[in-house]
Symmetry: C2
Subunit: 488 residues, 2 copies
């Protein structure tokens, strides 16, 4: 157990995660099994993610809209793969307004069907295309094995649904979004991701093909952080959505859909946090700087005053193109030690201590959450110093996570070695291995090792990954290595 | 019918509204009866409302969080008035994950019960108070008589839920929020509102008392635009939420809840729009300025280039402390007349025409949506001129709505006059009349006239409204006049 009463990662990574999420006030268990409450500290991270994504969506011509929560049962039946994938996971409304309904309604597990039903009404000609719509919404997928943020019955997400005149345009769209997701993860969350294509077996139910980004946790498992689907003409055919092209010819519309969810908050915690609590990249941290004035009575008044002035200076100076998120913890009844622990647990990126002797000397003590080393900094220089520390921390977290991934990505060519690596319960990093491209082999491998194909990378981690070879399981020819891992 | 094929307000106000909302692409009817799709143009208005409110909530110390969609049936039963008010309106989930549930789950019609179940877990001492939480969420209340934005089965809203140590603090909170709602309506939406207290009969199911804001539509009906409830200790008692005060004494926690919804978008349309289409106050308009370059071939190239430069200048100059929302309509196949109609319908606040001859003369033609008069303005001065027009339009819309309310607020002292005013189907403005304070009289009045008490104003519209008198129906003593109207 750590000082905060949280299990250490080395003792039980899973317990560490579950305890940390609750103790750091990110989320709590809801009364309905499988559901969670996102508390303000956790929701503030989600809001930072929303802002970053929403800006990028709008910069690339997307608009937000809102489609209904409830979907007629018959809609889900229209796309064969889709209903097979989603119907068993649905929550079903059978009564409303005190009466039994004629047709049951499904709470959306995802909104392709209700959206394509509307697109059928909205799309007639090439002039109506493209449609580039996103929605921020809640969805429900029945789930009893709860893990806060990572696996819950209800979760929040954004889901984009676009309609295009050609296959190529839809393909460009799905790759544009994939790149936005990569940027979000790497530049905001400081989480490096593998960018690639899902195998046929792992693709979205109803897609032509699915792109994804895959992160690595500190316990060396893969975690899917976002997906972008080229839906081909599958939903257009299911909902009979055709358009007249410039030559007057009718054709079915091409589609994409894509989403990331509150699962990203869990991914973030898994990637960076430590035994003392949350470690959050500054760009999405609810508290970037906490100032702790020290002293009692008259001295307290002076240090609190100085802390509030410093907070104002830091906010106005800003960081990363916006106002800095600065908090002064001037609670009277709590000791400095209590506050240090509190803000380590809650992941304030930079802590500033301001005591009476510091104030006399014209200095303060600055400590960065991820490295923990104390710096005595003059009051004149503190604004610049803190800005620099936040910038350094953002890139240091990314580099540290990238080092972890590098150290735990292996190239394996024999089945014996492959099996040995994935032996036992724990994660084993990414294994880049050759695969013959068949679902049969994929299922046999996951059956024997619990490792699954996370993706076929779009750009190889190492140039040699794109050279042909022999499948690690069947020995059949393989065009390139793919990424295997045990996944959350 | 107007030029856009929309029924005129004078012919049938209700048809005008329904047709306008669909034709101006604010919303569409969803496949499930009672539900709507909020289209990008309508959702952009909601986003502007969200930003304004969210900033004001955060400036007053509130934080966002997220509570679950699904509520156990037993929770709703815990507060007697609450279950009576809401249970008959609920959508009920009886099956999930392919199985029948042991206990049915209700889709939240509002979240007091699930939130107070959590607060019971989070609150022990005065140190845990106040809790000032808001959530942006969807709710479902069974409803078959759809009217887009105004009355739908599912709607989007924010719901605040706060917990306090004293009655007075909860009272201050509910009034702080009421003032935020007033500011939103008057300063952003340009809709004047009556601010007051609901009668016992009209208060929220489970509240001690309810404050509200009431707007007036162009067809002279009242429309409730927001409510703020002092919940007393009702939910704390129902969910057994006590706290230890500074002296160590246990007491039940005091509560408020408050909300506004996508109904505000409908209120906005009802308040300002005309037979030509949407008229939107600039602070929430998705398109504040539309620039329409005119000309063909080479001339087109020049005017499009100049329009894009002008758009950039306008955006960078900004308006109202942010970037201006400027759109260049350079569609090649559509005529200028088509575009003028299109943007009148969609409520662009200011239209700028830029033709080849304008360009030669160094001028453009600027027209404000609400007044329609054309101004020839030099290109050097256009940025300043447009900023000024937007500011004028924002206050002109408010003044016009205020004039309408003034002209349609009457003081009535006899039952004969009261009945005569509310005769017929239409709205009849606000009637300020004396009421004896009993639910019996209130129900008798609404039974005979369909007029209801909209609120007991907190500050009188006219000082004489606060003088005592005799109830317009019963003749019994009355402390002050209250506002009656037919309501949406």
């Amino acid at each position: 157990m750590s000082g905060k009463g949280i299990t250490k990662r080395s003792e039980n990574y899973s317990d560490w995660y579950n305890e940390l999420v609750v103790r750091a006030n990110l989320a709590d268990y809801a009364p309905v099994r499988g559901c969670m409450v996102i508390k303000p500290h956790g929701y503030a991270i989600w809001e930072a993610i929303q802002r970053a994504l929403d800006d990028m969506f709008k910069d690339t011509g997307h608009q937000n809209a809102y489609f209904p929560l409830l979907i007629p049962e018959s809609f889900l039946q229209k796309e064969a793969q889709h209903v097979e994938g989603f119907a068993p996971q649905c929550a079903v409304v059978t009564h409303g307004g005190g009466k039994k309904l004629e047709e049951p309604l499904y709470i959306r597990p995802t909104s392709e069907t209700v959206i394509w039903n509307m697109y059928a009404k909205w799309i007639q000609s090439w002039r109506d295309l493209p449609i580039l719509i996103n929605q921020w919404a809640n969805v429900v997928r029945w789930e009893m094995r709860t893990r806060l943020f990572l696996r819950t019955m209800e979760f929040l997400w954004q889901e984009g649904h676009t309609a295009h005149a050609t296959y190529d345009e839809a393909e460009r769209e799905s790759l544009t979004i994939l790149e936005i997701y990569r940027k979000l993860c790497e530049d905001w969350l400081a989480v490096p991701v593998l960018v690639g294509l899902k195998s046929e077996n792992e693709k979205f139910a109803g897609a032509d093909h699915t792109y994804c980004i895959e992160a690595m946790t500190q316990d060396l498992r893969a975690i899917q952080a976002g997906t972008s689907h080229h839906l081909g003409q599958n939903f257009a055919k299911a909902f009979d959505v055709t358009f007249q092209d410039k030559e007057g010819k009718l054709d079915y519309v091409w589609a994409t859909s894509w989403g990331v969810s509150t699962r990203l908050v869990g991914t973030l915690v898994m990637a960076h946090s430590d035994d003392q609590g949350l470690v959050l990249p500054p760009r999405v941290a609810p508290v970037q700087v906490v100032i702790i004035p020290i002293g009692r009575d008259e001295q307290r008044e002076k240090t609190v005053g100085a802390a509030e002035k410093m907070a104002l200076d830091l906010k106005q100076a800003g960081w990363d193109g916006g106002r800095a998120r600065v908090h002064v913890d001037s609670r009277e009844k709590e000791s400095p030690g209590f506050k240090f622990n509190h803000w380590e647990l809650h992941g304030a990126c930079v802590r500033i201590e301001l005591g009476p002797r510091d104030l006399e000397a014209g200095t303060c003590v600055v400590t960065r959450r991820d490295v923990g080393q104390k710096h005595t900094v003059s009051l004149e220089e503190v604004v610049g110093f803190v800005g620099h520390e936040l910038t350094s921390m953002q890139s240091a977290l990314f580099e540290r996570a990238l080092d972890l991934r590098r150290a735990n990505t292996r190239r394996v060519d024999t089945w014996a070695e492959f099996e040995a690596i994935f032996e036992g319960e724990g994660g084993a990093g990414f294994v880049m291995a050759h695969w013959d491209g068949t679902t049969e082999t994929e299922l046999a491998i996951s059956d024997k090792t619990k490792a699954t194909i996370r993706c076929i990378p779009l750009t190889p981690l190492d140039p040699s990954d794109d050279e042909p070879g022999a499948c690690v399981f069947s020995g059949q020819p393989s065009a390139r290595r793919v990424a295997f891992a045990k996944a959350y």
